[in-house]
Symmetry: C3
């Protein structure tokens, strides 16, 4: 009897834009299990909109605090697969993040304390599948490397350490504040819409508190989109605070401001999607 | 080497209306694995129609007999999240059922032998995440408590024992029989439509046998919906018993009467969904 | 403490047309875990088009090389459930394949070295659930038998060995080559469309190399569908080789020719689905 040493095992998560209609995700799990038998693999989501790096980056951020230390997070939203884009490994205080260097790491870099960044080189070749295709690096590169990392491989074995500044970052991922004597405007963007059509925005609760907390009198007045101006007098605590069909702002479970309609889809009603601009108008008095 | 003691491990299942587009389900699994590393987690479904407690209750019933003893079933169809609704734990002969007290347990209570019901109180707080949000109890309450239960926590540690009668139950979940000299009418409702558009109805095989078994001559004649009257002369054994495109009644894999069209969607053709009424007409002669 | 003997454990994969809306797949996993606790179960896909045996067969082929030796692959695309169709177990060099004998194994038989074929008989009854329904053999037959196989049951225990020639095979699964002095025509079919609308075709890279490699001068000229004739001068290496919206041919990750549109759906634009015919026109000079 050979026993399973659970101390030596980490966990792997997968986030892709592959969907679950095809066998792509299952094949990645097969490759992982061939190397790291019995390492648990958790699906974060495979429904990132195809090639939408902003959405992937924002979805990834939601999981930071909720997985055990040492988890290897694999993100494959990779329009440049087969081209010369790099693959990088970022080690933060609690986790590893393996991704193409195309901006997918932006939100993690903004939020987490980074210990080390490694750009994969040919040193990583022995840890990939023997044949690397031009179109499916999830199977041939990301899955086997994640499995080796979960089994204890050190990041330096995969390539060269690089500076955090050299990584690709997405523009306009943070809200922009402008103020005059009477009003504060926060120019925001939609990061993604969740299944219910709730819109997750690029304004963090901690940033709001740092800014709005200094204002003695700051009251939410409205949210403006290109087409609509919604009078909203407060940030609600929960959906039950408004009537069915009414809009509300609230701090979502990921500590970001969200715009929703009770029992309806805000994304659909207001015609907003990842990247859409909107403005939070606050009054000072 | 520390070995995995598989005798001490149970299994957890998840049923939600969260969908799999978002990271919500993955995050719940991350929380579980931080507490109960290597407890297997099985997805029952995350596609319950948003906030449809009747559908969730009926879907949950289908799994009762097919999981190992000691399984912890977690159900999060929870329109009242953030309000004062309770969370309850029901222990049946073979399993634990953790759910909001909103009717989601109705079908389990109707069918299973209940050993104990505990309403969660502040005693449960040490087993939740340190910060409990107003909108995502799946992550902050249900996941960590299920993980602790799977690791052996006793139900009493979570709150106060209450009577089964004090739980919220959904109305009209059982078929209603009316009869005269020549006909038997069974007023039924659709519980849910499955992926193929087959309609699962609230008439159990055991109830049919108990009632119809006593009739010396009882023949199925028709199914009436609000819009259609379908002549159906028998309860079929399998789809192959009727021609392509034809309707049939049969006892489904969950021991409930189902109405289907061979190679087509009955839900779509007859415009029926969870809650829709229909009547089974039988003839006595 | 009783330890988990990981040497004695294999892996199980599931491919069905059940979808993930319903609890069917979760129930299969419950049955498996009751017999083979802690055997990992991987979902290949549950989104095979309902009852589309050709699509299922082609999707199954993609996973052959990527799972550990000894994996038990379960395929349930089974329009004949409840009728007299057989269930068969095929043992190849690296894996077991459990499926209805309806053609679902065609691509595996075409590609893999078969060691043994067993047709399930009443010998298998002790390894099924006690009650076998007429409609859900995935739960009552496939899941428990796969679990017993993963725990080490030998195939002979399940039925009688039969010849590979006696298995049902789908027609027209291989491309047909015709040539004259100046042109080579390859009559192909679409096997399935992936999530992105890329069309996977029934022409293998190895067959192309064996045939086209002998031609001193063979140049791709066009792809003809019933409605369109697309001038395509080469087989590309990756999507980045063509402009956005343009069509391309390339060898997919499963070593089959694929037809795609960069950043668009070829399935939708060209109105092609599983089974649709199309022709690859090549020029000799």
């Amino acid at each position: 009897v050979s026993c399973l040493d659970i101390d030596g095992l980490d966990m792997i998560t997968l986030m892709t834009d592959f969907g679950t209609t095809d066998t792509y995700v299952g094949i990645m799990k097969g490759v992982i299990s061939g190397i790291a038998s019995h390492v648990p693999v958790v699906d974060l989501t495979h429904a990132v909109s195809p090639q939408n790096v902003l959405e992937g980056s924002a979805r990834w951020e939601t999981v930071c605090d909720y997985f055990p230390a040492g988890t290897v997070h694999v993100g494959v939203v990779d329009p440049g697969v087969g081209s010369k884009r790099s693959i990088v490994l970022v080690q933060t205080e609690r986790a590893f993040w393996l991704a193409p260097d195309n901006g997918l790491l932006t939100m993690i870099l903004n939020q987490e304390l980074v210990h080390r960044v490694v750009r994969l080189t040919e040193k990583a070749t022995p840890y990939c599948l023997p044949q690397v295709s031009a179109t499916f690096h999830g199977r041939d590169v990301f899955a086997p490397i994640a499995a080796h990392l979960a089994m204890g491989l050190t990041p330096e074995a995969l390539g060269d350490e690089i500076s955090i500044e050299s990584l690709v970052r997405l523009p306009e991922t943070e809200a922009v504040w402008t103020q005059n004597a009477h009003e504060m405007h926060v120019a925001m963007r939609v990061l993604f819409a969740d299944r219910f059509g709730n819109l997750i925005l690029n304004l963090r609760h901690e940033d709001w508190q740092a800014r709005a907390g200094k204002q003695t009198h700051l009251a939410v007045q409205a949210v403006s989109t290109e087409d609509d101006k919604l009078p909203l007098r407060e940030i609600s605590r929960t959906f039950a605070d408004v009537a069915v069909g009414e809009p509300l702002l609230y701090w979502g479970s990921g500590s970001r401001l969200e715009l929703a309609l009770r029992d309806d889809s805000a994304a659909h009603r207001f015609r907003l999607a990842a990247g859409s601009p909107l403005t939070l108008v606050c009054h000072r008095h």
